[in-house]
Amino acid sequence: MPPAIDVRTLGIRYNLRLTRRNTVNVTFRNLARRRRGPTHFWALRDVTFHVDHGESLAVIGPNGAGKSTLLQVLAGILEPSEGVIAVNGRISSLLTLGAGFDTDLSGRDNILLAGAFMGMDHGEMQGRMGEIIEFADLGQFIDAPIKTYSAGMNARLGFSIATAVQPDVLLLDEVIGTGDATFKAKSRQRVVELMGAAKAIVLVTHDMSWVLDFCNRAILLERGNAVAAGDPTTVVALHEERSAMRRTGGSPDPLPPLDGSGFR
């Protein structure tokens, strides 16, 4: 059986000249002074790993290491600039929740729209509608436009939609901290359930207790490279040691990137 996720020499390159603030003016200026400064930036490079069925992988690392970028690649949102990735099975990504809602539409309309964006079957989404509304606990607000929702209601609906699908491969990005205490407990339980049902999980988090409790493997990303991989306890210990050095103002020596061929 092929692994649920197979990533080889993955590289994601950002072109620094193409940003959202790109105006014609800036483009001409860039053309005028071409070869000055770096033209691109590797958010990830030479990352090789695989996740087998039944495994759950934690991706840890300092801010800006490329963790979220990695999830975006796995979700198919970003295309590799280098290397290949293969994901077998239906993916559900719980990336920034509820941010993509159309605020002029009602909660109900947004559920259908979100389902259609995720490529879910219409009948399936209709079938889960009741369950989603129930879990989000929105009451009659479900027929009001999203712009009337509070931030918490918004996040609850987002979480509820994203977890309503039964994915084969579950991608989680710091989603555990949404809503009030009651909802937090409820959502934590939901995530644990999903993790039990999913065939493979990739979890990005800064909460090391999640890594130790739920993951059987971990990789440490630093500056876009996978620098350590293996047993969660060891990798977490390494990461915490290096974080502690950073906190006290020190800068730990950069670790050499893992050689992809040796990763097993």
Partner: protein, 287 residues
């Protein structure tokens, strides 16, 4: 060590599909996401006029008021003495409204969906397609005042050629879709297009025979024949004249000019789709 890494990197390289495979893949993507397009269109229509007093009545009122403005300006102030002038310009204003509002929406069609693009992987080309499809619905609503005007005020202009309206509309649809697709993708890279689009559209409108007929360009045609043939390359010259032939003159459209527009539009559509698909992977990075 470095050379070894390069060798490893070279082992895994994703192949970029050829143009034909890209087109096929796009058609497949779009067909499989029909439901998404349908929802987007419905959402757009629902929002449209949801917060105004008259709601969807504006779809009918809007082209009528535009026509009124031009009628006042040209028939009354400039004293044009063309017969049934309101009908004459309405033949052009209605399709133009469809075109310009679609392009106007397409300009921001991708950029306003920034958040969902960064969260979910879906074929982004459904966005300009849904915008174009939504435009068709409002065009159909706009036909109501046109037909009412014909029946009640200008019954002498009614002819069987009205039945050919869908053909001309289909030609315009292909052109609109092609432009909507390419414009939506390019705006991601150059936001300036948003500022420019309104002005370019207005210029295009005045350069097309909307408020005047091609017959009024006799002077241009005889003095500068080359300039006039450039003028005729404008797809909207043929499109407006075709609508006008069907509605105002009650005669056949100039088929060969219309055929040329079909050809231009299809080529443009293929190019737009290919450009869009080429740029699509960068959307999530740049937005």
């Amino acid at each position: 060590m470095a050379s070894q890494t390069d060798a490893v990197r070279a082992t895994y390289r994703m192949a970029r599909p050829g143009p034909l495979a890209t087109l096929k893949g796009t058609v497949r993507d779009v067909l499989s996401r029909r439901r998404l397009i349908q929802y987007l269109v419905r959402a757009d229509l629902k929002k449209h006029g949801a917060d105004t007093l008259l709601g969807n009545v504006w779809w009918i009122l809007d082209p009528l008021l535009t026509m009124l403005v031009y009628v006042i300006l040209i028939a009354i102030i400039l004293r044009s003495n063309r017969e049934a002038y309101p009908l004459f310009i309405f033949c052009a204003i209605l399709p133009w409204k469809w075109f310009s509002s679609t392009i106007g929406a397409a300009v921001t069609g991708i950029t306003t969906r920034e958040l969902i693009i960064k969260q979910v992987n879906f074929p982004k080309i459904v966005l300009p397609i849904a915008i174009t499809a939504g435009g068709v619905v409002s065009f159909i609503f706009g036909l109501v005042p046109l037909l009412a005007m014909l029946v009640f005020f200008y019954p002498s202009h009614v002819s069987v050629w009205l039945l050919a309206l869908p053909i001309v509309a289909a030609v315009q649809l292909v052109l609109t879709l092609a432009l909507a697709i390419i414009v939506s993708a390019l705006t991601v890279f150059y936001r300036d297009i948003g500022n420019l689009a309104g002005h370019l559209l207005r210029l295009w409108f005045y350069l097309s025979p909307a408020l005047y007929g091609t017959d009024q360009l006799d002077k241009l045609a005889s003095e500068h024949p080359s300039l006039f043939s450039i003028y005729e390359l404008n797809p909207f010259a043929a499109i407006f004249e075709s609508y006008r032939n069907l509605i105002y003159y009650g005669q056949a459209p100039t088929w060969n000019l219309l055929g040329l527009v079909v050809l231009e539009s299809l080529v443009l559509l293929v190019v737009s789709v290919l450009v869009f698909r080429r740029l699509e992977p960068s959307f999530a990075k740049i937005l």
